[in-house]
């Protein structure tokens, strides 16, 4: 009797199992899929690659596991950051927090402090994490040691040089390209270029052109201080008192006031497109924004060539450069959504996908295999000549330079924005004063900046 009862219970269990299915609510499945929203900053030509990768995920791994990635915003980092700020501040009209977003650690920390981010170490085994470059993983760890910004692609800063314009300038003035190795040399050439271009229109004095600019003056100052063996930051504040900073400031201030350095609020690639610049420091991931032409006001288009040079060094300083590039943060949510997001992050950063992204965007890979083996092997196969040139230059830099990452604390982003705004405003004002013949001394200028 007992045996027959057991048999009936088993039979009933099997029948119920057949009809109900064995569901695991912590995991998505093709019958119970989950759709995740994603924001990223890979616009323009990079968008095609990211779109293709997401398409591939949705139709392969995502399809098998019931995960759909839905990109709801593609914008610049600055714009995404503004929207994220609204979310972090719970501003009225703020958009809904995306499940996955590309972000810099300095922005992610705002969400981490509120407990709104997933520590991705929970979804990666130690063995899996060891496949990534340790420095990149460390960069994504915030104050409590949790991995909140998972590395997707990294970049550094390099010197973009419009070789066509420079050659023309060098031929006329004898300027040496070797001077581009130091900021002091760039400062000297900036003054020389401004005067040379100004002299081409003797009837219009003061219309010389800028030679150099930096996409981030704050990064330049940080790197400069590191190169000179010091730091721009003391704790969570700026330290502008040191002699080394004075040297950096003076090096830039002199040509900037004269007009040889452009003080532009947008990216240097904008000025490059119209030939209003010869060289600039900027992210290695910005290569695709430079194009390969100059458009003049009369709509003539000139084909030009760009060279990618290592980040300049202040005279006598150490070869050091900043390592930058955001990663992916995952919003805290129900377990199945977090699991789905982590699955996507894992897939997207696997060596094969990582190399595909790198080969068409100009970023650096984040897995050891892609960085140490695949990249060197595949550089020759990269179709875009600009990306190939950039990868070769950056690979060389990684052999010669020391890389450092900017610190991460809650007020860091704001600190950088304030410095950038004040530095450019000061130099613009003093440039105008200089042209009207009332330029202050460098000490006075520096004192104004400190104020």
């Amino acid at each position: 009797m007992k045996r027959s009862a057991m048999a009936w219970v088993c039979a009933l269990g099997i029948v119920l199992g057949l009809f109900c299915g064995c569901s695991d609510r912590d995991r998505p499945s093709p019958k119970d899929p989950v759709t995740l929203t994603m924001w990223h900053n890979y616009g323009g030509e990079m968008q095609k690659t990211m779109d293709a990768l997401i398409d591939e995920f949705n139709s392969t791994e995502g399809k098998e596991q019931g995960i759909v990635i839905n990109v709801t915003a593609i914008s610049s980092s600055a714009e995404l950051n503004e929207s994220l700020e609204m979310i972090a501040n719970s501003d009225p009209g703020a958009p809904a927090m995306p499940d996955i977003c590309t972000v810099y650690p300095k922005v992610a920390i705002r969400f981490q402090e509120k407990g709104a981010l997933v520590d991705l170490q929970e979804y990666f085994t130690q063995e899996e994490l060891e496949n990534y470059l340790p420095a990149f993983i460390e960069e994504g760890k915030l104050e409590d040691g949790g991995l909140y910004v998972f590395p997707l692609a990294k970049s550094t800063e390099i010197l973009y040089l419009n070789q066509t314009l420079f050659d023309r300038f060098a031929q006329a003035t004898g300027a040496s390209q070797e001077k581009l190795a130091t900021f002091e040399g760039i400062a000297e050439l900036s003054q020389k270029y401004y005067r040379w271009t100004d002299a081409q229109t003797p009837d219009t004095p003061g219309d010389g052109k800028a030679f150099f600019t930096a996409d981030s003056w704050f990064n330049l100052a940080q790197v400069g201080m590191v190169q000179l063996g010091d730091s721009l930051l003391e704790g969570e504040s700026l330290d502008l008192e040191s002699e080394k900073y004075r040297h950096i400031f003076e090096t830039l201030w002199v040509p900037a006031v004269e007009g040889g350095i452009a003080l532009y609020d947008g990216y240097s690639s904008d000025l490059s497109k119209t030939g209003d610049l010869v060289c600039s420091t900027g992210s290695s991931a910005g290569i695709l924004f430079y194009g390969d032409t100059i458009t003049y006001p009369d709509n003539r288009v000139e084909q030009v060539e760009y060279s990618i040079l290592p980040f300049p060094v202040f005279a006598g300083g150490e070869k050091a450069a900043i390592q930058r590039g955001g990663g992916l943060m995952v919003a805290k949510s129900e377990t199945r959504r977090e699991y789905a997001a982590a699955t996507f992050v894992k897939w997207l950063t696997a060596p094969r996908q990582n190399m595909r992204f790198i080969a068409s965007t100009g970023y650096l890979p984040v897995t050891k295999q892609a960085f140490e083996t695949d990249m060197a092997r595949q550089i020759d196969e990269v179709e875009d000549g600009r990306v190939k040139k950039m990868l070769a230059a950056v690979t060389g830099m990684y052999e010669e330079y020391r890389f450092f990452t900017a610190p991460t604390f809650a007020g860091f982003d704001e600190l950088g924005k304030d410095y950038e705004r004040d530095f450019k405003a000061l130099l613009r004002r003093q440039g105008e004063s200089a042209r009207s013949g009332t330029a202050p001394t460098v000490e006075e200028a520096l004192a104004q900046l400190k104020d």
Binding site: F19, T35, G44, Q47, S75, E82, S83, G93
Partner: protein
């Protein structure tokens, strides 16, 4: 030998149906009836497992919702486009007056193009903030440098786009510059896009020229009849694409000097008009021109959470109504199912009124077929399983509940009426008790001499006659006693039926009986007196 055979199941046929079989048939019939009733009730209440209604409701509902929203948005955008044209034309007329020129002088004075465009930026920035669009453009029918190669298809203008197109006047939505003089962008703090060009290249886009030519041919027709929606276009050198609302620019003197309008990019369409993906992740909406039963999706846009713009279909889809009320859309290899409705983009008297557009909500055909089929197979499986369960439980019940009855009957046969082992059934226990009492009473009567044991004379004679049977006849007789029939006896003794019949005649004659029934009466009497096997 015969007894052994009987024990092995070779018992002779008996009249009636075994009780267990009857009970089994009853249980099976009853439970089967209930299962059938269950199935009939499901069907009567419309629960047949088919997903057709749910799928139709979903697709139809999404289509209706998106149709209302999109029609309203496109209508509003058309009105805003006309207002934009009027405002830009008015600005241009002021500019002509200040510059001492006419609209027709534009190409002959290319140095005026940049100041004219600069004068329009604020109006465009204001309009793009109010409209649900991804970009605003202004194209002048002139180029800054007519001497350049390719100048015939190069046109000056401005194209501003929103990088976060779904945000209307929201913080975080910045304008970028896709076309126009770089200096104007810098003066207005607008960043150039990676695909920035100074002028429009019309060599691969016809819509601008068509709209200007149409406006020139119909100088009296109001702007509200002259706007046109292009199919999806991608400006040369641009990675994005979308549909463009093109409205002619007409000066006070009637000169058509350009085109302006709004862009709805495929990314904006995807963000704002994707159907609900909760039920079907692969559902998507599409708008496209329709000509002769062909849905020109290669000139349209799609929106679905599952799809990115790069997965756009590049071949036209033929449309055909299929069973279940859904349309099938196919390009020959891919097949989709869904519904569509016509989008009214133009007034009836518009010169573009003949151009039909439709909005469709689709699913891959395999997904839709699965949705329509629903879970009817599961339902059928459930009914079959219930049948199976009822069959098995009938066997179980009939065996379990009849076992005490058959055991009781065997005990009755062996006159074991003991009440020490009662059955689970009261009625059987009562019967056993009754038989036990009768047995006891009979014993008492015998003991009291009321039953003498004297046999009737005929029976006594019958017993005497039995002894006269031959050996062969006795074998047949014994089998009759065992309950065998003539045919069974023939088989048992390996004799022909005729031989058995001959034996029967002799047996009947010797025993002095005339019928088989009479013979059985004597046999019963022998059994009652326990004389079988003793004769």
């Amino acid at each position: 030998m015969a007894k052994r055979k009987r024990q092995e199941g070779h018992s002779p046929k008996r009249a009636g149906t075994p009780l267990q079989r009857r009970l089994f048939a009853f249980c099976t019939g009853m439970s089967g009836f209930l299962v059938v009733l269950f199935a009939v009730l499901l069907l009567a209440f419309g629960i047949n497992g088919s997903g057709r209604e749910a799928a139709y409701h979903f697709v139809g509902g999404e289509l209706s919702h998106l149709d209302n929203e999109l029609s309203a948005d496109l209508g509003r955008l058309s009105v805003q486009g006309i207002a934009l044209s009027e405002q830009l034309s008015a600005n241009a007329d002021s500019f002509w007056r200040r510059a001492g020129m006419a609209a027709g002088d534009l190409q002959s004075q290319p140095q005026q193009l940049e100041p004219l465009l600069a004068a329009q930026v604020q109006t465009m920035k204001g309009m793009i903030g109010q409209a649900r669009c991804s970009g605003v453009f202004l194209l002048l029918d002139a180029t800054v440098n007519p001497a350049l190669e390719g100048a015939e298809s190069s046109r000056a203008g401005l194209f501003l786009i929103k990088t976060q197109p779904s945000a209307v006047d929201a913080v975080g939505s910045k304008l970028h510059y896709l076309r126009g003089p770089a200096e104007i962008a810098r003066e207005n703090g607008v960043e150039l896009l990676g695909q920035w060009r100074m002028e429009f290249d019309l060599s691969e886009v016809d819509c601008f020229k068509e709209v200007m030519n149409q406006a020139r041919e119909q100088p009296e027709t109001p702007l509200s009849r002259l706007y046109r929606w292009s199919g999806r276009v991608s400006l040369k050198g641009n990675s994005g694409s979308g549909i463009l609302l093109c409205v002619p620019l007409r000066s006070e003197d009637g000169t058509v000097f350009g085109v302006c309008g709004f862009e709805m990019s495929d990314r904006l369409f995807k963000l704002d008009y994707s159907p609900n993906s909760d039920a079907y992740t692969q559902a998507f909406a599409a708008i496209a021109p329709v000509e002769d039963g062909v849905f020109h999706i290669e000139r349209g846009m799609i929106a679905g959470n599952y799809y990115l713009t790069s997965m756009r279909m590049e071949r036209p889809l033929s449309m055909a109504l299929e069973r279940e009320g859904f349309f099938c859309y196919t390009d020959g290899s891919d097949r989709f199912g869904g519904l569509h409705s016509e989008l009214k983009l133009y007034p009836d008297d518009s010169p573009y009124g003949e151009q039909k557009w439709a909005l469709a909500v689709m699913l891959p055909q395999t997904v839709l077929a699965r949705a329509v089929k629903g879970n009817s197979s599961y339902l059928l499986l459930i009914v079959l399983l219930l049948f199976g369960l009822s069959f098995v439980s009938s066997i179980f019940i009939s065996r379990r509940y009849l076992r005490p009855v058959t055991e009781a009957l065997n005990r009755i046969k062996s006159r074991d009426y003991g009440v020490t082992a009662p059955t689970p059934y009261v009625e059987i226990n009562d019967l056993m008790e009754f038989l036990a009492q009768q047995e006891e009473a009979r014993g008492q009567e015998v003991a009291a001499g009321r039953i003498t044991g004297e046999m009737p004379p005929l029976f006594e004679q019958f017993l005497g006659n039995v002894k006269t049977l031959s050996k062969a006849e006795r074998k047949v007789f014994d089998l009759y006693i065992e309950g065998y029939h003539a045919q069974e006896i023939a088989e048992e003794l390996h004799l022909s039926i005729n031989t058995i019949k001959t034996h029967n005649r002799r047996i009947f004659a010797k025993l002095n009986v005339s019928t088989r029934k009479e013979l059985l009466v004597y046999l019963d009497m022998m059994r009652e007196l326990d004389m079988i096997g003793k004769g």
